[in-house]
Amino acid sequence: MQLTGLPGMCHAVVGENGAGKSTLMKILSGVVRPDRGRIVKDGEDLKLHHPLDARHAGISTIFQEFSLLPNLSVAENLFLGREGDIGHAMTRAELAQRSEQALSELELNIAPDRRVGSLGVGQQQMVEITKGVLADASVFIFDEPTAALASHEVDVLFALIERLKDEGKTIFYVSHRLAEIFTLCDDITIMKDGEFVRCVPTALTNEDEVIEGMVGRPIAELFEARAASIGPVLLEAKGYQGQAMKRPVDLTVGTGEIVGVAGLEAQGQQELMRALAGFDQRRGGSLTLQGKDISDIEARKRIAAGIGLVPESRKDDGLFLSLDIADNMQSAQVARGGLFALTPSLGELTRDIMTRLAVKAPDARTPVSDLSGGNQQKVVLGRWLLAGAHVLLCEEPTRGVDIGAKREIYRQLRAFAQQGNGILVTSRELTELIGLCDRLLVIRDGGIVSDVPAEGATEDSLLRAALPTSLDGGQTEAA
Amino acid sequence: DVTLHPGLGPAEGAKLVDTSRYESRRDGGYTIGFSNVFTGNSWVIQLLEEAEWRADQFPEIEKYIVTNANFDPAKQVADVEDMLAQGVDAIVINPTSPVAIVPVLERAYDSGVAVIIVAADAETDKATVRILADQVKFGRDGGEFLVDALDGKGKIISLRGIAGISVDTDRWNGAAGAFEGTDIEVVGEVYAQWAYDQARQACESLALAHPQIDGVWSSGGAMTQACIEVFNELGRDLVPMTGEANNGFFGAWVENKDKGFDSIAPQNPTWMVAEGVAAAVGVLNGDDIYTEYQVIAEPYTADNLEELYRPDLNDSYWVGTILPDDKLKELYGQ
């Protein structure tokens, strides 16, 4: 892997999800230690053992997964870990004043004592950016800074990056939005499967070339054929709304159908999935599964009725990391019985599903913590196959999963649908949704704003629907 | 006049209390506080019952307050302070520590409250009355019994109470004094917290580890009782063991007398606190009370055994009570 940044230049890093962009950036910021290789800055070798080392070396990072602490205030977060840079510890008033100044430069109206956890995602992203640029650094790393931003915020950010360039700073910019890259960046480095593909000046290439470099093979090969025909409705929501949802939604999932939910970061995808799975109290509307009304039954009963949830955060919400594969896979199945039911023995079915999903492990008694991310994801999928779910609610099914495992997962999802089941899936990756699904919903600010067949849908059209127009004020918090 | 238990005698060098100090409090309506160590065993429970019963007998006592320190000296200091805040006329205290409560006791004494130290001593001159059992004698009586019974030579084990409590160290010092100059060898020593269950385990381990045990010195009756049962269970011949004036132990003694078991039962009377309460009333009334009393009770031997043992009462009863029989039946009836 090689990557070179020049002063006053913006260098883009692109690649598919899981290509290793964030990992590379984390290496540059001292969060992850490289196995081998060198980092050279101004002719000197850098040894980055700790995020502080990177900071001292003049590298500032705006992380993709925020490094903010929700229970600290905006001001505390902005100066966290570098209160010392400012000499003596600052008084509250000083801290507040300096924070306000920094925030106002990004046209943000947020009280400095505001708890970060009480801000919307867009505002949090802006705070993360403010924090990054507050640092006195010569290298700035932006990892997907615009994923959660509204268009006018993007404008503010771009102005800021232009200014940094004018000041002679080096900028690394990671984004999936190629249009942005072509307006902003001077060079593009393409990564794939954790490896360097090539580096080209922006002026000498075009979007198609970049995409080809990222994907490396035609996209179609990754996905299965779509459903030939869709059977009767399996899951139907009519004006359904959970406590955490901003708006009621209407949606259907048919037999054999995979329905995708597209949208920008944190537009209510997770709230929708959790509400449908029953982990949020119903506020209104109705929900039916195979014609049976399940609006008022709790999550456990919905699961028993045939709904399964694949949560986004595998490690936090999906897996029992210290238990073995069999225990993880059988958990939902066992959960259906009473407390005093006998547990199933390992059983053919479990082994069968392990083989079907091609889980790479010595045996079913291997602890899941020994598995790679992709295999762990297969275990979570296997759980619902084993439990005999009819409708899968899949959050980000291929997050941080390599291309081979992705293919396997797509294949399994399609096969699952073909057996007379239905899937509702969210993903940040539009190409994935287009390739995988039969029909696509676009969610914006908690409401479903578009419902189109996946066949013929383009990233561009989806993005257009997903982005808030400046008139409807989709992100109202940022005044 | 208040009369104290006949088992008490003025200690050597004791003087009459100068009751003029307490004249201002002589209004015939006293508040008396008892600061107790803890509530964790049957000896303390009987002590509490007797003290309360005794307090009930005095019309002069308007209010009788009890606190429990749960073995925590800091809490006992707080308890005494809270009593002072309530305006007690006398404090009867069973100290958790001979030194830790001294500052607060001195404060109490200086403010004109009668301070009665009972059952365990505290290192201060500022006490109105002390009522103490001679714990060194308790241990020595047992030690001398063993020396006699073993003809001055043999291997013994020692069952001790709670580490770091003066009653325990005093008793053991008495016993060790008795063994001095003899050929008695202590082959095993263990703290069993004066508790039956712990003593049982300790005795089991020691008995099996030492094929030869000629005698057992014990700091309390429940522990001896446990050890007798262990020996019986292991099928070993009973050896002389020292005991204590407790009904459970007497029961075991009676039962095993035929097997040649012999013992001695020193007393550590439960009524000391009750007499402390009485002494407090006496001092406040202006009666003749001495500054220090010693329990003059001699240990019980096999001779008194039959008359003292109460088969109608359970093991928790401590022999030599001041409680009336109906109260005893209520507390310890089988």
Binding site: G318, S322 | T39, I45, Y191, A202, L208, N314
Partner: protein, 309 residues
Amino acid sequence: MTRSLRNLPPAFWGLIAVGVLAAFTQPQFLSLPFLMILLRQAASIGIVALGQTFVVANRSLDLSVGANIAFVNLILAHAMWSGYHPFVAIVVALAAGTFIGFANGVLVTKLRASAVVVTLGTAAIITGIGFLYTGGAPGSSISDLVKWLGRGRVGIVPVAGLVWLGFAIAAFIIMRRLALGRFIYAAGDNPFAALFSGLPVDRTLLASHTLCGFFAASGGVLLSGLIGVGSINLGADYVLSSITAVILGGAVFGGGAGGAVGTVLGTALLVTVLNLLTVFGVGEPGKLIMQGLVIAAAAIIYQQGRRNG
């Protein structure tokens, strides 16, 4: 093979070490009568520790087992049972202890307050109720049936040891063969994942606390039988001992480790070490230091094994 070897609880290796030590220094320690005595000593604490295993594996803790045992003892020794079959007293005592565990479970799941604080609170309440119920009197003697359970023998085997074996088998079945056991490990390992898999997370925690109460009460019955009389502060030291045995048995809070076998071995190790120390004439301070070192060593070694694994 290496995996299962690595998964053996620290107590297993500890027992081997202690056995070798005893064989060289105190050979009579390994004689059958002595082992039978160890077995009886270990039985009551062993059952309490088995109960503690459920809650610890479920990422919780019960600090009220000591008060529970004392309460069971008060009930068993109360004069009010003189007219009834001794069986009645046992059933009532077990029911009371189970209810204490159930109450802990309800409070921990419903109030979402820390189990440390909640079970300390219930311990204080139970102790107070016990004193009020008996007026502080230690109660009369305990029925022969209970005494037989605590002290009796079948041949040379102590009844208490057999009872312990029974409870260990029951605990093993619950933990390894019933859905409840799976739920306990799963919810202990990751309560959120458990929720999203549809496990009855709260009911599982409630059940493990209830079971802990029942096991503690059962240990209390055996201990009361061994003592044979009402005793006020009975079992106070069982809180610490039961947790120690569970840790030696390889359980950590949550984390899917530990189990009935581990706890049985942990109890055996604890009781053996304490006895050996008594035999060696080590005083109270030495025992405390030894106990601390053993706990720390077990926890550290086990944790390193898991990390490298």
